[in-house]
């Protein structure tokens, strides 16, 4: 399909979008500060732009169009009501530095969300400012560092993560100036407790983990793990990526975690937007309270007010220009209000029911579960190693072929320790018929793998493009459009 630049014609523009102005407005500015030639942006009509981007949109898979069982990403329905609420003019038009007196409505919403997240996690306080999960992780580990430093405990240089952890965990630890030591996970998907005991020591600043783990199973030794790390003087970080499995049922604070982040774009149904924006609020227990990132909202006698560096002298400070992804926070609050308390429990009930059902049906259809002795949580792992060996088709081939059935592929090759794996997370918002269709598609593909494996290796066959050459993309770097010729 043409790019917007291919549609461009010199001298054309969307005139209704031009504010009235004249070049005289630039009078008085030094010549040297001005641009000599305008940037070569597209010159198109309003209709051309609208049609181009509408046509592009049709080339996307999205929850609104397809089942999207992408493990660890919690691709649930994004309620339009929440989108409407966050798009109310009073919210969209609020300037971030408006005085508190003119911001009580907005601040009341943030305060409500802070309180709600405190209750659902068991934490003592919440700051909403981190703008995505990885920034929440950064905030959490930076707080761990600030805590040790404030105590004069300067020898703790290491963060532990299970070897199945999300890549953001080690990357975050390094951004916070730590080295990373990985701890093995055993054959049942639990952390190897002996390996953990051998790994902790006076150098341990903390441990980062999810629960349920990235293996799609509940870490049964959570309390013992916390004990080992705490006894060594370290703190525990909860990566909230998998909270959907236990929402309303288990509070991370009760598992011994000192600090956590939540992915509101997962558990609280805010849209993923083709790669964001997200929101990664952090919650802390009493020990890390003095270090929370600012700003956050407090309620005083005469209304809500911001707490800033002046109120929280031990803070790790601000991590963005203003107060995080406010519009996403409002969507999450709207979703929570529509769920109510009992609705939170039902999220995990049906997220787990759907995953367990899908796992049972796939197993019955002949697929191999990576952890057959364990209960599925909100997600589970298939290993396609047997299919790969028998027919020479990889998990990636099966994933690409699934796209032809109008199903987004599950997460592939993660966690890395399970060969040829699919991490499958259906979420609670899918109906049974949709899950059944997925099983049928998988069964058909398994049959194709025997009969015509090449058909899988060259999939997809029905999308706007065939399998794309990633190697070429990296080798002949072309990162922007250039005029032909």
């Amino acid at each position: 399909m043409s790019t917007i630049f291919d549609l461009s014609q010199p001298g054309r523009n969307a005139a209704a979008q031009c504010a009235r102005s004249d070049g005289a407005a630039l009078a008085g500015l030094p010549e040297a500060a001005l641009r000599t030639a305008p940037p070569a942006l597209p010159e198109v009509s309003e209709l051309q732009a609208v049609r181009h981007y509408t046509n592009l949109s049709a080339k996307n898979f999205a929850i609104d169009r397809q089942f999207y069982p992408l493990g660890s990403c919690t691709m649930k329905y994004n309620p339009r009501g929440a989108h409407r609420a966050a798009s109310l003019p009073g919210f969209l038009d609020r300037h971030p530095l408006a005085p508190e007196r003119a911001s009580q409505g907005f601040m009341g919403c943030l305060f409500a969300l802070q309180e709600l997240l405190k209750e659902v996690t068991g934490m003592a306080a919440v700051s909403l400012t981190p703008m995505a999960g990885a920034q929440g992780e950064f905030a959490g580990v930076a707080m761990i560092r600030a805590y040790h430093r404030a105590r004069g405990d300067l020898e703790r240089r290491e963060i532990l993560t299970p070897d199945a952890a999300h890549g953001t965990n080690p990357a975050t630890a390094v951004m916070c100036g730590y080295t990373v030591r990985e701890v093995a996970v055993d054959g049942n998907g639990d952390v190897d407790l002996d390996a953990l005991k051998a790994a902790v020591g006076p150098q341990t600043a903390g441990l980062m983990m999810t629960n349920p783990s990235t293996c799609g199973v509940f870490e049964r030794q959570a309390v013992q793990i916390a004990q080992v790390v705490h006894d060594a003087g370290g703190l525990l970080y909860y990566d909230g990526a998998n909270l959907n499995a236990i929402l309303g049922k288990v509070r991370p604070a009760d598992m011994g975690f000192d600090v956590l982040h939540l992915n509101l774009h997962k558990t609280f149904a805010t849209p993923h937007g083709g790669g964001g924006p997200g929101a990664g609020p952090v919650g802390v227990g009493e020990r890390l309270l003095p270090h929370l990132p600012v700003p956050f909202v407090a309620r005083g006698e005469d209304g809500y007010r911001w707490l800033t560096e002046d109120d929280v002298p031990g803070t790790i400070g601000r991590l963005s220009a203003f107060a995080g992804n406010a519009g996403i926070l409002l969507r999450a609050l709207a979703y929570a209000l529509m769920l109510g308390r009992a609705g939170m429990d039902r999220v995990s009930d049906f997220a787990v029911l759907n995953a367990a059902y899908l796992a049972a049906r796939l197993k019955a259809a002949g697929f191999e579960l990576a952890y057959p002795n364990r209960a599925a949580t909100h997600e589970f792992i298939l290993t396609l190693a047997a299919e790969a060996k028998a027919h020479g088709v990889s998990a990636m081939d099966v994933a690409k072929r699934l796209l032809d059935f109008g199903v987004h592929a599950p997460t592939t090759y993660f966690p890395l320790l399970v060969p040829e794996c699919f991490l499958i997370e259906p979420t609670e918002t899918e109906c049974r018929e949709e899950l059944d269709r997925f099983v049928e598609a998988m069964a058909t593909i398994a049959e194709e793998a025997q009969r015509d494996p090449e058909h899988l290796r060259t999939a997809p066959h029905s999308l706007p493009v065939g399998r794309l050459d990633d190697v070429k993309a990296a080798r002949n770097l072309k990162l922007r459009w250039t005029p032909p010729g």
Binding site: G274, F322, L330
Partner: protein
């Protein structure tokens, strides 16, 4: 059940397939002592007085609200803050956003897609971001753009880390000079984010609201210099001279820029003899509503020598087996999901939907539309400053040309003035008291193309009345 489609018959059949007799049995592996004992009050805090009493929605009892009830409850709060004429800028601006921008960005196909890992099923987002990267390279006169970072301030931190990795490598100086005239929140956020990686940040001092050209160090031990153009006070720096000086010190130059102004101002890639190395900033003026400061998107563009230092997603053009052009995530070996602890950044989710809006915005506006919005904003700010400075005791704080923001000296504390202006329906700007107490009673004002002549005049009348009180 809100957003859960299961009928009792579904539930029963599914449990039978699994081979358990209740949903509770699916949670049997969770140790009993970890489970919440009965539903605690949650939404929003029934039985506790910590939560906003007096303004509680029906859900106070923990019940779900219908969409209608939720919208009413949120609507009351949105309404409470609405209706001010906005004369505040300081990194977030009240520009017109064409109606088509969010009609398109709000389409489910864009809004409810994930990060485009499955390229063949994500060509819409991928091509759009490829087009966005091209537009940003054009605006900044740089060679490469990533697919966004969170916002301008956190993006600056990433830019600093890029520069330090490239310039200082393992043994060079990890010293970064940051202009005092940079947005103070950017300074704080960048410092907080790079704090634990051994980067030393020093301030490049200002004189009369601009970088002091007489106090530029020349010891050569600098990895990067950070400038903002227009700077926090809306003033124009001598970007050419500062760039030439910094390059002479062996430092990388990072330009923090407002993308709208680049329709008319010299792009960072052309500053001085060699150009800046990295341009970053906040994309909010390109199609994002103010929305309390987020979400917007941060952008980072760089000269080709720095491409492999870029954080986060980058889209590249490639083809399929039959030679059809397509787009995919590329240079992924920089990223955390491949490289883990050795990645260029921990960033994963970025601000994709705002980039979608930004690309549509730029396509609709074109360079002509962006220039018109920038010029109209400058014209309005000139008019505003003239109007306000006609009031006894109000004057520009600094000499020299400003773009579309201006710092004013007031005869009264800015906080008091701003508070009193609220009663006139005016958000009068941003007080400089907190970050620049030495500047006395000062206010940063901005009038975008959306402010009418009547609103500007009303501000003048209100300010005169407030100062006379």
């Amino acid at each position: 059940m809100p957003f859960i489609p299961h009928t009792p018959a579904d539930e029963q059949a599914m449990l039978e397939q699994i081979g358990v007799d209740s949903i509770a049995a699916l949670f049997a592996e969770i140790p009993a002592e970890l489970r919440v004992d009965g539903p605690p009050p949650l939404v929003p805090g029934a039985g506790r007085d910590s939560w906003n009493e007096g303004a509680l929605p029906p859900a106070a009892s923990g019940e779900a609200m219908s969409e209608m009830a939720m919208l009413r409850w949120m609507g009351e709060r949105a309404e409470r803050d609405a209706g001010l004429a906005c004369f505040a800028g300081a990194g977030c601006y009240d520009h017109h956003v064409p109606a088509a921008v969010w009609d398109i960005a709000g389409r489910g196909e864009f809004m409810t897609a994930y990060t485009p890992y499955q390229a063949e099923a994500s060509q819409g987002t991928l091509q759009l971001v490829f087009e966005y990267q091209t537009m940003m390279c054009e605006l900044t006169a740089m060679d490469a753009s990533n697919a966004s970072v969170y916002d301008g301030a956190s993006g600056l931190a990433e830019a600093i880390l890029m520069a330090v990795r490239k310039v200082a490598r393992k043994t060079g100086p990890r010293r970064v000079l940051m202009a005092e005239t940079l947005h103070p929140h950017y300074r704080d956020a960048a410092r907080n984010i790079v704090a634990n990686q051994g980067v030393e940040i020093e301030t490049l001092p200002m004189a009369q609201g601009r970088c002091d050209l007489r106090r530029l160090p020349d010891d050569g031990a600098v990895a990067a210099v950070v400038l903002q153009q227009p700077n926090f006070f809306g003033l124009l720096e001598d970007a050419d001279r500062l760039t030439d000086w910094a390059k002479g010190q062996g430092a990388a130059v990072i330009g923090v820029v407002n993308p709208l102004t680049l329709a008319v101002l010299k792009p960072p890639g052309q500053w001085g003899d060699a150009g800046a190395d990295i341009a970053c900033g906040d994309g909010q003026p390109l199609g994002a509503p103010m929305s309390s400061g987020g979400p917007s998107f941060g952008f980072i563009c760089a000269k080709s020598a720095f491409t492999r230092q870029l954080p986060g997603r980058i889209i590249g053009q490639t083809e399929d087996a039959s030679g059809r052009i397509g787009y995919s995530l590329t240079l992924q070996a920089r990223e955390q999901h491949i490289r883990r602890g050795k990645a260029t950044s921990n960033i994963c989710t970025n601000q994709g939907l705002l980039v979608t809006a930004g690309a549509v915005h730029m396509a609709l506006m074109g360079s002509k539309g962006l220039a018109a919005a920038a010029c109209a904003s400058r014209a309005n700010t000139l008019r505003l400053v003239e109007r306000l400075c006609a009031i006894e005791g109000v004057r520009p704080l600094f000499p020299g040309p400003f773009f579309h923001e201006c710092a004013l000296a007031l005869p009264k504390p800015a906080g008091e003035v701003l508070d009193a202006l609220l009663d006139h329906g005016i958000l009068g700007g941003v007080s400089l008291a907190r970050h620049f107490p030495a500047l006395g009673d000062a206010l940063l004002v901005c009038a975008t193309e959306k402010r009418s002549a009547e609103e500007i005049d009303a501000y003048g009348q209100a300010l005169a009345a407030v100062i006379a009180e």
